[in-house]
């Protein structure tokens, strides 16, 4: 089974082409191919993870690779797969969620535009993520990484006819790309340090101390840039809430299994590199700690149900990052595992609600408990799981993270970081329970306030909800503290020691979660036109405006750069380039052809485009070198020769 694990990504990838080629001619118009493919992948994933259960799981880890093409002097780049506990867990997460999402989409997407294409893209998305997961070298991983980015772009922009949606897609793509630049540089820094792309070889080089500390720190911090982008960590989180523009099943897939987990997976996969540098780890921990609280605060005031969930994802991913940052790799992956199920459930439940109520706003909902009993029940389970109420899945993983953070505070290399993560995590746990209960109350309790005639979704949609509901209950049991062949041993890190439970901490976190739930349900038991949170005054306003991050990017980065560049442009044009004549022409040209208008339109999210604007403006100036006069060109040519001559002789 392990030897043929390569089929797991290949099947969905093949499904992509098959759906495009034959999808429209099939009775269901495409989904059946993708579902069959991912089902087989799922069954194989179960077979693989079964081997890792038990004390000797580590012995089943495999790395199989074959020559891809010659590279450098004598070396070969390899294509291959790395199968270990981490891969196996990711396989399960991705294939399960993808399978259920595809089944659910048959109902959800019925009658929508580009129906067949949608399923093809889902298959490609799944296959890309699985490629990223199975990769045994960084280049292959990069290919999966980029493909995932492109797929998310395609899917978020699925309803591109509406400008806001296409903007969201572009924003997602460009924001994550911003993180990819340091990521790419990081890969090559690591390559420069280790002379290999192979992950196992990198582990080995790091373990024997072949690589300098500085190189590892630089590589880790740069690589983390990619993770920040993909996993929506502060300050590159801005794309995730906007990515709600995609169809809801896509949001479920993005938020639970693919795309955003890629960043966490990256750090987990290259954990030895990060672990070798306390500086890098602390950075991961602090960014995680900050982001989790930050996002949870924003989630409290959102009225759009999908946005609540989106910020909740940002916050929960931050939990995983923070866990990695304090060295608790198993806890992080465990949380990734449990979170996948209940977050997918929440999104699919929200999709079901939106499908029924024809609105995203919770203000148009309410009272759906009676009308949509299955959705109601499963959503409640997911709410409890996310809030961290025992015995639901989220409790076990979140508790393990908090315990590990506290332990890192006691024994870790940098005590304070561990405690910070613990305190932030505890507060966030409370807030999480609060905002989830708020969403739950506003959606399902009280009286229906909307205009539509809600009714329960069809079986093809509720079926996946029920399955995910069951998983959200039981998925956590594999990681009960003290369990001998539990989750920790699957990851097969080698010297896994069974931690004893810290009952004091458990009690504290249960109290926090319970407190949040109780408070939330008291405050929102009766629906109020004015959100009670507005009594918080200015702070509420800050939260509604998402801490003004988007505005900050606009004001602090985009406008100054843009204005200064425009002033500089003016100056250069008037003083340097061909005197006032060209200068005036240039200014007229710039303002005339509406460069600014165009830019303003394009400035969806300033900071990221800031660089683009600078470059564009520079281009707008530099292009005037190309004056059209061939004799000026000739003069530049000779000037160039002179400069080159100076350069040549300087080194002669």
């Amino acid at each position: 089974m392990t030897e043929h694990a390569y089929l797991i990504p290949i099947l969905p990838l093949a499904a992509f082409f098959l759906i495009i080629a034959f999808g429209k001619r099939l009775p269901l118009k495409g989904p059946e191919i993708g579902i069959v493919a991912v089902s087989i992948s799922f069954i194989m994933s179960v077979g693989i993870i079964a081997k890792f259960v038990g004390a000797h799981g580590a012995e089943h880890a495999r790395e199989i690779s074959t020559r891809w093409f010659p590279f450098g002097s004598g070396a070969h780049l390899q294509i291959g797969m790395k199968i270990d506990g981490l891969t196996a867990v990711m396989f399960i997460v991705v294939t399960t969620v993808s399978l259920l999402v595809q089944i659910y989409s048959i109902g959800y997407m019925k009658g929508e535009v580009r129906y067949t294409w949608f399923f093809a893209a889902l298959s490609l998305f799944t296959g890309s993520m699985l490629t990223l997961v199975i990769a045994n070298n960084l280049l292959m991983m990069l290919i999966g990484w980029e493909l995932v980015g492109i797929c998310s772009y395609l899917l978020i922009g699925h309803y591109w006819e509406e400008k806001a949606n296409s903007n969201a897609a572009i924003k997602a793509f460009i924001t994550t790309k911003t993180g990819d630049v340091p990521f790419l540089i990081g890969i090559f820094v690591l390559f420069a340090g280790t002379h290999t792309f192979n992950i196992n070889a990198i582990y080995h080089k790091v373990a024997v101390g072949d690589v300098s500390h500085a190189t590892l720190t630089a590589a880790a911090i740069l690589l983390f840039g990619g993770a920040i982008g993909k996993s929506g960590q502060f300050p590159l989180h801005v794309w995730l809430p906007d990515a709600m523009a995609g169809p809801t099943p896509v949001s479920a897939l993005i938020h639970a299994a693919t795309m955003v987990t890629a960043g966490v997976f990256l750090v987990a996969r290259l954990f030895p590199v990060f672990a070798a540098s306390p500086e890098a780890l602390n950075e991961v921990a602090l960014i995680g700690a900050f982001t989790m609280l930050f996002a949870a605060l924003i989630a409290m005031v959102q009225d759009d149900i999908k946005r609540v969930l989106a910020y909740s994802t940002v916050s929960q991913l931050a939990y995983m990052m923070a866990a990695l940052g304090v060295g608790a790799r198993e806890a992080a992956v465990f949380h990734l595992f449990t979170h996948a199920f209940f977050k997918a459930l929440l999104f699919l439940g929200a999709g079901s609600v939106i499908h029924a109520a024809h609105s995203n706003s919770m203000r148009d909902m309410g009272g759906l408990r009676k009308l949509m009993p299955t959705t109601y029940a499963t959503f409640l389970i997911a709410t409890l799981a996310l809030s961290g109420i025992p015995p639901f899945a989220g409790f076990w993983s979140k508790d393990e993270i908090l315990t590990e953070a506290f332990r890192a505070g006691q024994h870790g290399p940098t005590h304070i970081v561990g405690y910070i993560v613990y305190v932030f995590g505890a507060i966030t746990a409370f807030l999480t329970a609060f905002y989830m209960m708020r969403a739950f109350q506003m959606t399902f309790m009280g009286k229906y306030r909307g205009e539509a005639h809600p009714h329960e979704s069809p079986r093809v949609m509720t079926g996946p909800l029920v399955i995910l509901g069951a998983l959200s209950v039981v998925a956590g049991f594999v990681g009960i503290p003290g369990l001998k062949s539990g989750f920790g041993s699957w990851l097969a890190l080698g010297e896994h020691e069974v931690e004893s439970a810290n009952y004091l901490l458990i009690v504290v976190s249960v109290l926090l979660a319970g407190g949040g739930l109780v408070l939330g349900s008291r405050v929102y038991r009766t629906y109020a036109e004015v959100d009670p949170l507005e009594r918080l005054g200015w702070f509420h306003k800050v939260l509604v405006n998402k801490f003004y991050i988007d505005e900050f990017y606009m004001a602090a980065i985009v406008r100054p750069i843009r204005d200064r560049v425009s002033r500089a442009t003016l100056w250069i044009n008037q003083n340097v380039l061909d005197g006032a004549v060209n200068g005036a022409a240039a200014v007229a040209k710039i303002s005339g052809d509406g460069l600014y208008d165009q830019l303003d339109q394009k400035v969806v999210d300033g900071a990221i485009n800031g660089i683009g604007i600078t470059a564009r403006a520079t281009g707008g100036v530099l292009k005037y070198l190309q004056s059209g006069d061939v004799q000026k060109y000739a003069a530049y040519l000779f000037a160039g020769i002179v400069i080159l001559a100076v350069l040549f002789t300087r080194f002669a």
Binding site: Q631, K632, A635, F638, A639, V642, A645
Partner: protein, 165 residues
């Protein structure tokens, strides 16, 4: 030094001075036709210098092709484009730049040439035309064929472009 000069050296000097001065007038003249005539002066003197240096065949080819064909072609060009004979400015506004570039080029080149070849003497002896012909059609037959294609292409292309249709 002048006193010790041999006949060919004196001849070289004479033609070189003519070529240089005529060259200045080619780029300085305010009349297009005059410029073309000065160009004849440069090309002729350079041809004569080839003969002095012993490259008789190249020298005659220079005079025949350049003076006989290229300059005539250029004069045709001048007439067909009804270029104003005198009166209108023939220079653009970057003369100072051009002068600096040219002076720098000349200074730099002269410096590196004298640095490397300052003490090298040539013994003059004529190259027979037969030698050139032999070499051209054995050793250099491939570029010769390639150039014939080039000439054909230039001919056909020039006709297509210049023809009125």
């Amino acid at each position: 030094m002048i006193l010790a000069a041999t006949g060919p050296e004196i001849a070289f000097w004479g033609f070189a001075v003519v070529a240089g001065i005529a060259g200045f007038f080619v780029v300085g003249s305010r009349n297009v036709v005059h410029a073309a005539l000065y160009l004849v002066g440069v090309l002729g003197s350079v041809g004569a210098i080839y003969i002095v240096l012993g490259a008789e065949f190249v020298g005659w080819v220079q005079i025949l092709i350049y003076v006989g064909a290229i300059v005539v072609l250029l004069l045709f060009g001048i007439m067909l484009t009804k270029a104003p004979i005198g009166g209108v400015a023939l220079d653009n506004n970057q003369r100072p730049v051009a002068f600096i570039v040219a002076a720098t080029t000349f200074g730099g080149l002269t410096w590196i040439i004298w640095r490397t070849f300052g003490g090298t003497r040539i013994r003059l002896s004529p190259t027979r035309t037969a030698q050139i012909g032999n070499s051209l059609f054995t050793h250099f037959v491939l570029p010769f064929e390639a150039v014939s294609v080039l000439l054909l292409a230039a001919l056909v292309g020039a006709i297509v472009l210049a023809r009125r249709d």
